[in-house]
């Protein structure tokens, strides 16, 4: 885990943990909730970590998804996730996803 912040960036981007940040614990729990929700709703679809970015009153959920379902169904899931999480977290939630053919495409190795 020590690699986070060094060889890879943060999975949660927010200002809660800065000096005098607001809602420190709530943010952490909410992020956990979002990750659990994503792993259940987008079952076996996320190839990468779920990246959660908070910007003003918006939460942006990013990540890389495997192309194992039709784009139509993916759009359905996007709409579903955005609407449900917006209601639960009481702020705008947006998804920004990119797709890859298979999980193996994310393996990057320098020899």
């Amino acid at each position: 885990m020590y690699k986070i912040g060094f060889t890879k960036t943060w999975n949660s981007w927010n200002t809660s943990n800065l000096l005098d940040g607001l809602r420190k614990s709530e943010t952490a729990v909410e992020d956990l909730f979002i990750r659990k929700f994503i792993s259940g709703t987008w079952h076996r679809l996320f190839a990468s970590e779920v990246i959660i970015k908070r910007r003003a009153n918006t939460i942006i959920i990013g990540g890389i998804v495997v192309r194992s379902i039709l784009p139509r169904k993916m759009y359905f899931l996007i709409g579903f996730t955005e609407e449900l999480l917006s209601y639960v977290l009481k702020c705008n939630v947006k998804m920004e996803i990119q797709t890859v053919e298979s999980k193996e495409e994310l393996i990057v190795k320098y020899v």
């Binding site: 784009p71 759009y75 709409g79 579903f80 609407e83 917006s86 009481k90 702020c91 797709t99």
Partner: protein, 670 residues
């Protein structure tokens, strides 16, 4: 990302306040909550290179680029449609869960509360409602809850402020006692396949609005006005006029909006244009008696009535007079006024010329929506310009107007936007060179507009006319992406075009071979799959493919087409290919010394009754220096087949089998 660990950075907080007033050249204006955002947005122009932001920016998820494999799509814009609707349907599914199981989503630590993310309670008969509940419901435009709350309060004899009753009446009249449409879900409306042009009575007779009005102890002028407007909006003309008469008897004075709706409803009271206009004049006289000044919607209402009485010979004159009157009173016309004027005048010969004057007048202006019919203007103007006037200069001017400011939002549905662009492209295809056409094409396709099969056909015609064949590969790849290849006779047109002549540019010819080959493969694939509706392809198309392959010196592909025909469709007269093509194929096979194909070609020629193919070979005998023996053998075998063909057509499938055996011998001979 650089993580700064060492130095402590210092922040300076800059506080600034945004003034509440904006100074314009004339006056101070109070700044609205969104004015600054609007000003910022106006600095960014429309991005034609990206799809709408509701789609994910990813090659797999962008519409039109990724083709849905499972469904054979019926609409040109279907992936745009399917993706946007899927997303909305996902949102609706989430909304369903939230509304059905509110107890699962109780957590709410937002402070202050966000009404949009709060559960909206549904009242029933047992709820104890207060005036505040009713007031909230009205503010939220929640019609069903309002009705329940009001009924509960009436049943329990709760006193209701008359002012509140009036605002309730206004709400239910505006929404016709029905639930207001949810403005968060607009995709379905946008992607309707056809624009609904409702000019019919939709007012709910005897429903809550009327009940509420009847129950009012003291019906004042405002209540009357509200109900008349509601009825007028949903075209309950008879009752609206009755109420108006009542109002006059009671000496109440109506508002301008009441008159506007009444004028619109004249359409339903009178049949002929003359009587309608008489009635309008009467209403306008009443209006001046009440000292009311007409506004833009009054004129729109008059023009609306005239546009529905185009059979009347004075309609166009009166429409022009109405416009003059409008100018006189210094009333700014909205786009709807121009739309109705165009509608009235374009029904007459030469009347469409008014479009020139309209465009001259509004050129360069940016409009704000003022009337529901405003959204029809651009679609109809382009229709008139393309189909009646065919003037490309005017087309450009209209299109520039559409590109001004936020004018491109004046479309009510995706369908009407597509109709506008269809007409615009047809106009360009008819009168512009391919280079200009393709500049516009590259700008708008595929993010704003996806051409229909008919427009593609016109683009191909334009390419033929200007001899700009190098655009065909691009157009064809778009045709394939939009799944239009076998819509109408588009595939045939493409093949005809590229089979027309042998191109000097080898690279281009190679691309043409690739196009024909991909079409051929699609046909083979589609016809080998029993589950999918088969494609009926005519022999001419196969001939053209062979011709293209021969032009591209790709003999193997040409013989593949023949092999396919011999194998799969030996006795389907519709797929017989032309004798001229067979002759060329013979020549080519002799040149390439491919005796198998030569044999197959001759056999095939005899099956379909093209005897002159053999004659052709004999005539060109010397060129290829064939041995006498060889030719004789050929003639014999083909004569034999021809005889068989004559005696019984059922056996005509045989040549494909018989042709296999002598093949080796002929090769050996050579």
């Amino acid at each position: 990302m650089i993580v700064n660990t060492g130095s402590v950075s210092t922040f300076t907080f800059v506080s600034f306040s945004i003034p509440k007033f904006i100074l314009s050249s004339f006056d101070y204006y109070y700044r609205g909550p969104t004015d600054i955002l609007k000003a910022l947005a106006s600095t960014v122009s429309r991005d034609f290179t990206a799809a709408h932001y509701k789609y994910m920016d990813d090659p797999f998820l962008l519409p039109s680029k990724s083709v849905d494999v499972v469904s054979f799509t019926l609409f040109a814009k279907s992936s745009f449609r399917a993706y946007a609707l899927s997303k909305e349907s996902g949102r609706k599914a989430a909304r369903y869960f939230l509304n059905t199981y509110p107890e699962l989503f109780f957590r709410d630590d937002a402070e202050p509360k966000v009404p949009a993310f709060c559960y909206r309670e549904l009242y029933d008969e047992n709820t104890d409602n207060t005036e505040d509940d009713l007031r909230d419901c009205i503010a939220n435009r929640d019609v069903p809850n309002c009705i329940i709350a009001y009924n509960n309060m009436e049943a329990k004899d709760v006193k209701i402020n008359p002012e509140l009753k009036q605002s309730l009446l206004e709400l239910v009249c505006f929404y016709n006692s029905k639930e207001a449409r949810d403005e968060e879900f607009l995709e379905e409306e946008w992607f309707q396949s056809k624009k609904e042009n409702i000019v019919r009575r939709t007012w709910q007779d005897g429903e809550f609005a009327e009940q509420l009005f009847d129950s009012l102890p003291k019906k004042d002028a405002r209540a009357y006005c509200t109900l008349i407007q509601g009825m007028g909006k949903y075209f309950q003309a008879g009752k609206a006029f009755k109420l108006y008469e009542e109002m006059k008897e009671l000496n109440y004075s109506p508002t301008v909006a009441v008159f506007n709706y009444l004028i619109e409803n004249v359409v339903f009271i009178q049949e002929s244009g003359e009587l309608r206009f008489e009635m309008i004049t009467k209403l306008l006289r009443d209006m001046s008696q009440y000292n009311l000044k007409p506004n833009v919607n009054t004129f729109n209402a008059i023009l609306f009535v005239l546009s529905r009485s185009t059979g009347w010979n004075k309609a166009s004159n009166i429409a022009l007079n109405t416009f003059a009157e409008m100018k006189l009173l210094n009333v700014q016309p909205s786009l709807a006024s121009y739309y109705y004027l165009l509608l009235v005048l374009s029904s007459k010969n030469n009347g469409s010329n008014i479009l020139y004057e309209i465009v001259r007048e509004i050129e360069g202006k940016s409009f704000a929506i003022k009337h529901p019919a405003d959204v029809n203007f651009f679609e109809y103007a382009m229709h008139v310009c393309c189909n009646f006037l065919s003037d490309v200069e005017l087309g450009y001017r209209i299109h520039n107007l559409l590109s001004t400011g936020q004018n491109h939002k004046f479309f009510s549905t995706a369908y009407s936007e597509a109709v506008y662009y269809r007409n615009f492209f047809s106009l360009l295809c008819l009168s512009e060179s391919t280079d200009t056409l393709m500049d516009v094409y590259n700008k708008y396709v595929p993010n704003i507009y996806i051409p229909e099969a008919k427009v593609m056909q016109q683009i191909l015609q334009n390419i033929e006319l200007y001899d700009t064949y190098h655009y065909i590969p691009q157009i064809f790849s778009d045709i394939t992406t939009f799944q239009l290849s076998f819509r109408g006779d588009l595939a045939d047109t493409v093949l005809t075009l590229i089979a027309k002549k042998k191109h000097q540019d080898e690279n281009l010819q190679k691309q043409f071979v690739a196009i024909a080959w991909s079409l051929f493969n699609t046909i083979v694939e589609r016809n080998s799959n029993v589950k999918i509706f088969p494609l009926h392809v005519k022999g001419e198309m196969y001939s053209k493919m062979i011709l293209i392959f021969l032009n591209g010196k790709d003999f193997e592909k040409a013989s593949a087409v023949l092999k396919y025909l011999v194998k799969e469709k030996p006795n389907d007269p519709a797929t017989f290919i032309e004798g001229q093509t067979l002759k060329l194929l013979c020549d080519a096979s002799l040149e390439n010394k491919m005796m198998n194909t030569l044999k197959q070609t001759i056999d095939y020629a005899s099956v379909i009754g093209c005897a002159d193919v053999i004659k052709h070979i004999i005539e060109n005998n010397e060129k290829y220096s064939l041995s006498e023996e060889f030719i004789e053998k050929f003639i014999q075998s083909s004569n034999l087949e021809a005889a068989k063909e004559d005696s019984s057509s059922s056996e005509s499938s045989e040549p494909s089998e018989t042709s296999e055996s002598p093949d080796e011998s002929s090769d050996e001979e050579k």
